[in-house]
């Protein structure tokens, strides 16, 4: 590791104090003069033709300022991927799930808005609906979108090498299947937005989103406002985890209603609406076969996926690709075949969630490796080590592991958990299990086809020279990106962290694709670093000229300027500075020239000092169809060991301990890296043991609350031992790469492998409730 002043420390978060004191503003905390409150009418039926919508009564209710339906909103199609725009803001011909949006109301107060909704009369003709992904793909199933026969939203077929032949040549082929359940991201802050439309035609949205940039584009497109006239400001966001990665009907409705009324309009989803909007983890069915040689060498993997997509595409195209592409590593394979199918059903649309597309298939694969290892009589860790990829390896589907500390992670958890003394030696009812995983550090390509930079950053020095203002469109959603950017800027400029301010999440500041695919540390980080270097170069050039020294002799460290590593001769500058600033209370002192002095003097010469940076990945990946999905400039990886106790009489599971090692390249901020690791584990534990969005026979969610949809509480999470492994990533800024999503990959299979160790029962369906485990144990004996 390099010798850093700011990076690689445990610096406290730049937004810590405002959040600890309740001053941090989230979208729902904003209030504007004359602000109206909006609400959306959602379909009570899962599949129905809309015959008539009568809004006349609602419009007459005192206090109602506007009522909009598809008549006012138009029928411009939108979605995430331009290849599959299949949504309109409001349903016009039919509704496709319970919750599909039909109309929106703006009123002087929230009660009135709700009352107005109840006055909108919609006549439906109910249609047969389909809720199960396998049923949906059967002949004769109710058709959800006319354009997609067989309800087939997307299909992927990829093969690398001759998989069937490779499987034939193996000593052993083992099969496994796996079924997870639809998850909800369950971020604590429900979606919320305030739209302010001002003449002559500029719309500003204050909204809880991960992707200001994409929201700006989508809202501009659907509301027919020139994109330059839409500004999206992301205040603090109370968690996203994926579902806040796309423009929502809430944002578009607020924008439209503000445009029509000329008044600011606010809307916040109820918790139930958060569940109805969904866009969270799909339900996946996985079917796999792994071919190996007697000595444990992995040869070939056949992988099939069926995804329950819900009523619209959302991120689904990427999702169904990821379920295949993210199995290419971290083990060497000679061949791999993947067939993926994403079906439409009459349920809320699924989208991206932490570990996008990869989590369920990783869970299946890592169980399959344990099953195979057991058959071969090999320790699961040894089996993995035998096949592990290392830095410089290329996966069978052409993903380039430009750095990969996978082996180091495995060794770290083996030592850190006491695996060798525990595996196979625990009493019945106690178990230990492990698993690995890897993930992208930013998608190699934007969601829409474009040559755009993925991130640009502007750094402007304050005119007194004392503060570097970093301006970026990137999205701080809790993961700590503002802090990471401040640290990168401070390190690059050679100034103190306290002297950097980050202004982020505003589309007027810069282009940034946002917080998804674990991209910001690497991509926004690169752009920040480049912008800081630009600023530094400007000041260094000025000093070189002024003091007549070579640029190369100048360095900035910790807020001071060094010449050839020493104080140098800067008398002339300091004298000028003091002359210029008579009466200022804080004249610079000390034996070194300060950064503030230098920057101020440079400003006097050149005007405001502004540096810019930009980043887009080079062309990545193979040339086969879908090769773009899964590409990334770098990959993070992790390994986990989980220890469980099972109550053999009830099936209750207690996770006693977790040991987690993650290779994030250089850990920009160690505390934040651990925070991401621990948060990922708790989301994985929840998905594994408790979480499931459940539907009744008519497609209504049975448990749309945080009481009945159960995420882990403080009592359900064990102590986690977090070990940071730092490889050097050549494509990352200062060698950094992802941690935010990859850390969830091993969690579910590690728990499942531990449960098997404790009970001798293989569970291949989530969540592992006490009942599911108890019944499985009972049926086995």
């Amino acid at each position: 590791m390099g010798d850093y002043q700011v990076l690689n420390t445990r610096a406290t978060r730049v937004d810590g104090p405002v959040k600890a004191t309740g001053q941090a503003k989230y979208a729902d905390d904003f209030k504007f003069q004359g602000m109206l409150y909006a609400s959306i009418l959602q379909s009570p039926l899962a599949h129905a033709r809309i015959l008539r919508i009568d809004t006349s009564k609602a419009k007459k209710l005192p206090g109602v300022k506007a009522v909009v339906t598809s008549k006012e909103a138009g029928l411009i199609k939108y979605g995430v991927s331009p290849a599959r725009y299949d949504e309109t803001l409001f349903a016009h011909d039919k509704v496709r799930y319970v919750g599909d949006e039909i109309a929106a109301v703006a009123a002087s107060d929230p009660d009135i808005a709700l009352e107005a909704l109840s006055l909108i009369k919609v006549d439906y003709e109910e249609l047969p609906a389909v809720f199960d992904m396998f049923e949906a793909m059967k002949e004769g199933a109710p058709l959800i979108h006319d354009e997609f026969p067989g309800n087939m939203n997307a299909e992927v077929h990829q093969e690398f090498g001759d998989t069937e032949a490779a499987l034939q040549s193996c000593d052993l082929v083992v099969d496994h299947t796996f079924l997870n359940k639809r998850q909800d991201a369950a971020f604590l802050e429900p979606h919320s937005c305030v739209a302010v439309f001002e003449n002559p035609g500029r719309l500003t949205l204050y909204t809880s989103t991960q992707v200001p940039h994409y929201v700006m584009r989508t809202v501009a497109m659907t509301l027919q406002i020139p994109v330059g006239n839409v500004r999206v400001i992301k205040p603090y966001v109370g968690g996203g985890f994926g579902p806040k990665c796309e423009a929502t009907p809430l944002e578009m409705s607020c924008g439209l209603l503000s445009k029509i009324t000329g008044q600011p309009v606010k809307m916040t989803y109820s918790r139930e609406q958060v569940f109805l909007h969904s866009r969270a983890r799909h339900q996946f069915y996985a079917e796999m076969s792994l071919g190996v040689m007697k000595d444990g060498t992995m040869v070939a993997l056949r992988n099939k996926a069926v995804l329950d997509g819900g009523a619209y595409t959302s991120f689904g195209i990427a999702t169904v690709y990821y379920s295949g592409s993210l199995l290419g590593g971290p083990y060497k394979l000679k061949s791999m075949k993947y067939d993926g199918y994403r079906a439409y059903t009459n349920k809320p649309a699924c989208g991206a969630q932490r570990g996008h597309g990869g989590v369920a298939h990783r869970a299946c694969f890592e169980q399959l490796i344990d099953i195979t290892a057991e058959k071969l009589g090999i320790d699961p860790i040894d089996m993995r080590l035998k096949n592990i990829m290392v830095t410089g390896d290329m996966t069978v589907n052409e993903l380039d592991m430009s750095s990969l500390g996978m082996k180091e992670c495995i060794e770290a958890i083996r030592a850190g958990s006491g695996w060798n003394n525990k595996k196979g030696k625990l009493p019945k009812g106690k178990g230990i299990g492990m698993a690995c995983g890897f993930f992208v550090s930013g998608a190699g390509y934007p969601i829409y086809r474009s040559d755009t930079y993925h991130s640009t950053v502007v750094i402007k020095l304050s005119e007194d020279g004392g503060v570097a203002n970093v301006m970026t469109g990137s999205a701080e959603i809790g993961q700590g990106s503002d802090t990471a950017m401040a640290m990168i800027a401070a390190e690059t400029l050679g100034i103190k962290l306290n002297d950097v301010r980050v202004y982020s999440g505003d589309t007027d500041y810069s282009v940034d694709l946002g917080a998804y695919s674990s991209r910001q540390t690497l991509m926004t980080g690169h752009a920040t670093k480049e912008a800081a270097e630009d600023v530094k170069n400007q000041i260094a050039s000025y000093l070189a000229q002024e003091l007549n020294v070579p640029v190369a002799s100048i360095t900035f460290v910790d807020g001071i300027v060094k010449f050839d590593g020493g104080p140098g001769n800067f008398e002339k500058l300091r004298t000028n500075y003091i002359k210029e600033h008579r009466g200022w209370t804080d004249p610079p002192t000390g034996e070194y020239l300060t950064f503030r002095e230098a920057a101020r003097m440079a400003y006097l010469k050149a005007g405001t000092i502004v540096g810019t940076g930009k980043y887009k990945p080079p062309r990545l990946g193979g040339s086969y169809k879908g090769a773009a999905v899964g590409t990334s400039p770098a990959y993070g990886c992790s390994a986990q060991i989980v220890e469980v106790s099972v109550d053999l009489e009830t099936g209750e599971i207690t996770v006693d301990g977790m040991t987690d090692a993650h290779d994030c390249g250089l850990a920009i901020n160690k505390t934040s890296v651990e925070g991401q690791m621990q948060g990922s584990l708790s989301m994985g534990l929840g998905e594994c043991l408790f979480e499931e969005v459940k539907f009744d026979s008519r497609g209504r969610i049975i448990n749309p609350s945080l009481g009945e949809y159960k995420i882990p509480t403080a009592l359900d999470m064990p102590k986690v031992k977090s070990i940071i492994v730092e490889s050097h990533e050549p494509n990352g800024p200062y060698g950094a790469k992802e941690v935010g999503e990859g850390a969830i990959m091993p969690t579910i299979p590690a728990i499942l492998n531990a449960i098997y160790d404790a009970t001798g029962v293989r569970i291949n369906e989530l969540p592992v409730t006490s009942e599911r485990l108890f019944m499985a144990m009972k049926n086995k004996t």
């Binding site: 445990r10 406290t12 978060r13 937004d15 810590g16 104090p17 959040k19 600890a20 004191t21 309740g22 001053q23 941090a24 503003k25 989230y26 729902d28 905390d29 209030k31 991201a185 369950a186 971020f187 604590l188 802050e189 429900p190 603090y236 966001v237 109370g238 968690g239 985890f241 916040t268 109820s270 918790r271 959603i477 809790g478 993961q479 700590g480 505390t671 934040s672 651990e674 925070g675 621990q678 948060g679 990922s680 584990l681 708790s682 989301m683 609350s705 945080l706 009481g707 995420i711 882990p712 509480t713 403080a714 009592l715 999470m717 102590k719 986690v720």
Partner: protein, 160 residues
């Protein structure tokens, strides 16, 4: 139908009219502009709305504003004194117990209520005290550590 209530919020006396169907949460956020108290569910399920009412942590989404008549309320805005963070706030910042921050005000107040009762809690007591405050970001570990550390700071401060 509005009624006058008198109460103390963060040490300041307040006298104002509220409607019976206003929750304490709505009253604090909408009428008092104390938006540090968060709304995550409205049904008692998440703890984001936790405030301290007469010394006890409660879910303000399930208390009527009118019921707070004559009471003493502490919200997150009232914890720092003279611009100096309370030790629990400080250790949340120092230990990395904050990510998105949406659960943070409720967490900190639940922790405050605990430490006021039990200055030296065990890890299990800390986790139990937080068990009604959901956090989706942190996995709770750094929160639990922060509270343990804050307890120590407070004890030391009181000893000296």
């Amino acid at each position: 139908m509005k009624r006058i209530i008198k109460l103390t919020i963060n040490g300041k006396p307040v006298e104002t009219a509220v409607s019976p169907n206003q929750t304490l949460l709505q009253f604090l956020r909408d009428d008092m502009n104390l938006t540090g108290t968060k709304h995550g569910c409205g049904l008692g399920d998440c703890g984001a709305c936790t405030v301290i009412l007469d010394g006890k942590a409660v879910n303000s989404c399930l208390v009527l504003a009118i019921q707070a008549d004559n009471s003493e309320i502490l919200t997150i805005e009232g914890l720092a004194q003279d611009g100096k963070l309370h030790p629990i706030q400080q250790s949340f910042v120092d230990k990395g117990a904050i990510q998105c921050g949406f659960c943070t005000p409720g967490m900190i107040l639940s922790a405050k209520a605990l430490l006021d009762q039990k200055p030296n809690p065990s890890e299990l007591e800390i986790r139990t005290a937080l068990s009604g405050n959901l956090c989706r970001c942190t996995g709770y570990q750094k929160i639990v550590e922060a509270i343990g550390e804050a307890a120590e700071v407070i004890r030391m401060r009181e000893e000296s």
